[in-house]
């Protein structure tokens, strides 16, 4: 009948679960909080806002730590373990910090058929990192991703600036040379513009806007010497049919 003491945290458990700490509690910015409040009005349950809240969190904090899960758990009224389950289930939530520019290369069939393996090797060589790795300067992370539904651009790479709102863009078709040039261009662009430190609000405010690669880079990579185009770049739809 004695009350039971809480045991010390098990390091083995933590290791296998790969849930990292940010070192202290976190909180959403005023803008993020406001966005969240609006989201709560769009769903009949608070739990339904877990995934949107994680998106806001990833934009604001860059990745999902144990503290972020605790935060979302409290706001959405869901046990932390379940928020953790959700985070681990979806591939787009990062459980450790990613580089400023997140490169996700599709290695599914349509891209593989058109040389994704070669592009991957070129990217690994150019960046000096393996899949899942981050460059020493913290600028690039490289991951593979399942079919991006852009097979007409195969091999296709998704480029995302992690701390900015919704700027994902597709680059393709790539070959080894184009991949190397793209990295150089992205590096030049990134060095020219300071890394975002604070979050920015939802960006999709203009119907005409064509969200590009990080910062204000031209969305049509062909101008930069890359053979491919980004999906939906100005003046040019994706290559292929349906014209």
């Amino acid at each position: 009948m004695q009350p039971f003491a809480t045991p010390a945290e098990d390091p083995a458990l933590r290791e296998a679960c790969r849930l990292e700490s940010m070192g202290g509690p976190v909180a959403f910015s005023a803008a993020g909080q406001a966005e969240l409040e609006r989201l709560f009005t769009r769903y009949p349950t608070r739990e339904a806002v877990v995934v949107p809240a994680l998106w806001i969190a990833q934009r604001e904090f860059g990745w999902i730590s144990a503290e972020v899960i605790t935060l979302v758990s409290g706001l959405c009224g869901v046990a932390p373990s379940h928020v953790y389950g959700v985070v681990s289930f979806y591939t787009m939530f990062h459980r450790r910090p990613r580089g400023r520019i997140h490169l996700q290369l599709c290695t599914n069939l349509s891209c593989q058929l058109r040389g994704a393996e070669h592009v991957l090797n070129c990217l690994r060589e150019k960046l000096g990192i393996e899949l899942g790795g981050t460059t020493a300067d913290g600028l690039f992370s490289l991951d593979e991703v399942e079919c991006l539904a852009a097979c007409e651009l195969a091999p296709v790479l998704q480029v995302t600036e992690t701390r900015r709102a919704e700027n994902d863009s597709l680059v393709g078709p790539l070959d080894g040379e184009a991949a190397r040039i793209l990295i150089d261009e992205l590096r030049v662009q990134a060095e020219a513009s300071p890394a975002p430190v604070a979050s920015v609000g939802p960006v999709a405010d203009s119907a005409h806007r064509c969200p590009g690669v990080p910062g204000d880079m031209p969305t049509n990579m062909s101008s930069g010497g890359v053979r491919g185009v980004t999906s939906g770049g100005p003046g040019r739809a994706s290559s292929g049919g349906a014209h």
Binding site: F4, T6, E9, A12, A16, C17, H82, S88, F89
Partner: protein, 587 residues
């Protein structure tokens, strides 16, 4: 809802239309293998072990999510097969999938002997292994909570433990993270599986993924015997299996009783078996010194006689003390309540004697003590309230009242605080199973005890009170005798003798009888006192205590009955009296 007559393996059974096939088959004694379904947690449908064949349906169906009504078509009710060649093939396939990444560490797995994977493989598996790809390795021996260890490799990901923490305790500590074959049970860092019911996850885990830290590696389960019993941790009286070997209790496991504890019990309750094994008072002690049982009985009898001013009884010789059974022959009729001829109060004066009872005692002990006080102690005062501080109460099972038989004590009219009488002092104080001097109880009573010329303690364990008594006599705990408790619902529930009494411990009513015999040789001659069996005592109890009038204890069954409803004339809802039957591992 309407009932449907369905056919399973060629046998018909009529069940509720909303009953699933696993439960319907159970009615026929057919066990459909399953991992994820549990009657207390509902249908989840993930393990695919319960695939059955329904005539007219080309695909296998899961029995857990197929309900009797689903079998009805306009042409009749579709028959179900659970052991057809197709079903065997499906089951073999699912088992093969489960073994793909399951470690073959059965020899050192603590679940061995009560593992569903083992049982199902024995029944339906048995294939030539073609599993030659490397196994995935996951975490082993993880303290997922203070009382539970996780072996993630052995886990079949049925999710019962997760659903238990969501649906029953509402604490949600557990979750399955990652996906595909990397899926693992885990808790959130810093929030371990520490709820008050965490060990139920061990019970419902069908394999060796969750094991109890405490029980782990203490005993191979096939060496344990299982006896129907009642948890004494609080007034709920959860129905349990008391599991024991070689005279030691090893663990409590909940036993299904939908009226009391459904399928569960609390962690704190599970730990209450320790006093059955440890710090036992095995031999009588006089002021801390062990003495032979005869001597102790004689001493007690002598003190009883001196305190009540009785002179016609035992002498120093104490020759009658051990001779109980021979005396019993002539007293064959006494058990039917033939106590009217008992020693009259005029011969004994109980005014300077007090008996303190406790709701920790069984109904039999309380009744026997009441009679003993009235007849052998000359109408001595008898009362008790239980001196333990209240425990934790929750909305699931736990009651604040830390005693198993508070209602039973009250129904005998004995629930009074004895302190006013105790404080007065006197010649003889008899404390039955209460431990007022124990930790966080009534330390102040120590001073009161000093006001008594002699203190006799009857109890299971050595404790502060036994140490303070002049004479301590061992009695049997609920593991070592048959008995009953009345829980907070006024439900009379039976526990069964599991273990041979330790040392000189006697069933408390028998101990009272022996003291009585030793105190008054006339008891053999025509002033009968006592009962020679549990059933005999109950005949007397039912006849003389209005609250228990008409109770037929032999018909109590495994799940007990509510006294008040019984009084209203409802049928006895017991399910038979099979205390010795094999204990199913789960519902």
């Amino acid at each position: 809802m309407a009932e449907v007559t369905i056919q399973i393996d060629g046998r018909e059974v009529t069940v509720d239309a909303g009953m699933n096939l696993i439960e319907a088959a159970r009615r026929l004694g057919i066990m459909i293998p399953h991992f994820c379904y549990h009657p207390g947690l509902g249908v989840d449908g993930n393990c695919r072990m319960c695939l059955v064949e329904i005539e007219g349906q080309p695909k296998p169906a899961i029995a857990c999510n197929t309900f009797a009504r689903d079998l009805k078509t306009k042409d009749g009710v579709r028959p179900v097969h659970t052991v057809s060649p197709k079903v065997k093939e499906w089951q073999r396939a699912v088992l093969e999938f489960l073994f793909l990444n399951h470690p073959l560490d059965c020899p050192i797995c603590d679940q061995s002997g009560e593992c569903f994977l083992q049982d199902y493989y024995m029944a339906n598996g048995q294939y030539v292994s073609r599993l030659d790809t490397p196994k995935l390795h996951k975490r082993k021996v993880v303290d997922i909570g203070p009382r539970v260890k996780l072996d993630a490799e052995r886990c079949v990901l049925c999710g019962r433990c997760v659903r238990f923490c969501d649906a029953v305790t509402g604490t949600g500590e557990l979750s399955i993270v990652n996906r595909g074959n990397r899926s693992e049970i885990t808790s959130f860092p810093g929030l371990p599986l520490a709820n008050d019911y965490s060990l139920n996850t061990v019970d419902i885990c069908p394999v060796g993924a969750l094991t109890g830290s405490e029980f782990r590696f203490r005993k191979r389960v096939w060496l344990l015997s299982s006896t129907q019993s009642i948890c004494t941790g609080c007034a709920r009286g959860c129905n349990i299996y008391l599991e024991h070997a070689e005279g030691l209790a090893y663990r409590y496991r909940p036993r299904e009783n939908m009226e009391v504890n459904t399928y569960w019990m609390c962690d704190a309750g599970r730990q209450t078996f320790q006093p059955l094994n440890e710090e036992r008072l095995e031999v009588p002690e006089e002021r801390g010194k062990e003495i032979p049982i005869f001597e102790a009985l004689t001493r007690a009898a002598q003190w009883v006689n001196e305190a009540t001013g009785f002179t016609g009884g035992a002498t120093e010789g104490g020759r009658f003390a051990g001779g109980s059974v021979t005396g019993g022959n002539s007293a064959g009729g006494n058990s039917a309540g033939g106590l009217s001829g008992c020693a009259a109060g005029g011969e004994r004066d109980g005014s300077r004697v007090l008996v303190i009872l406790s709701p920790v005692s069984s109904q039999e002990t309380l009744f026997a003590a009441k009679r003993f006080a009235a007849e052998i102690l000359g109408g001595a005062g008898v009362a008790g309230i239980g001196t333990r501080p209240p425990g934790v109460e929750d909305k699931i099972l736990r009651k604040a009242d830390p005693y198993p038989n508070t209602a039973g004590l009250a129904l005998l009219g004995l629930a009074r605080d004895p302190e006013p009488e105790l404080a007065k002092g006197g010649r003889l104080l008899v404390i039955v199973e209460d431990d007022p001097l124990g930790e966080r109880q009534r330390p102040a009573w120590m001073q009161h005890l000093a006001g008594w010329e002699r203190v006799i303690y009857l109890g299971v364990n050595r404790n502060a009170t036994s140490a303070a008594a002049h004479l301590a006599l061992p009695v049997t705990p609920h593991s070592e005798c048959d008995g009953t408790y009345v829980n907070f619902q006024e439900r009379l529930q039976r526990f069964r003798k599991a273990i041979t009494p330790r040392g000189d411990a006697l069933w408390a009513p028998e101990l009272f009888r022996r003291i009585a015999v030793a105190a008054d040789p006339g008891i053999h001659a025509g002033r009968p006192f006592g009962w020679l069996s549990f059933n005999a005592l109950w005949k007397d109890l039912a006849a003389s205590e209005p609250a228990f009038a008409g109770t037929e204890v032999a018909k109590l069954g495994g799940v007990g009955q509510t006294l008040v409803t019984r009084a209203a004339g409802s049928a006895i809802d017991g399910v038979g009296d099979a205390a010795g039957g094999p204990a199913p591992r789960e519902a």
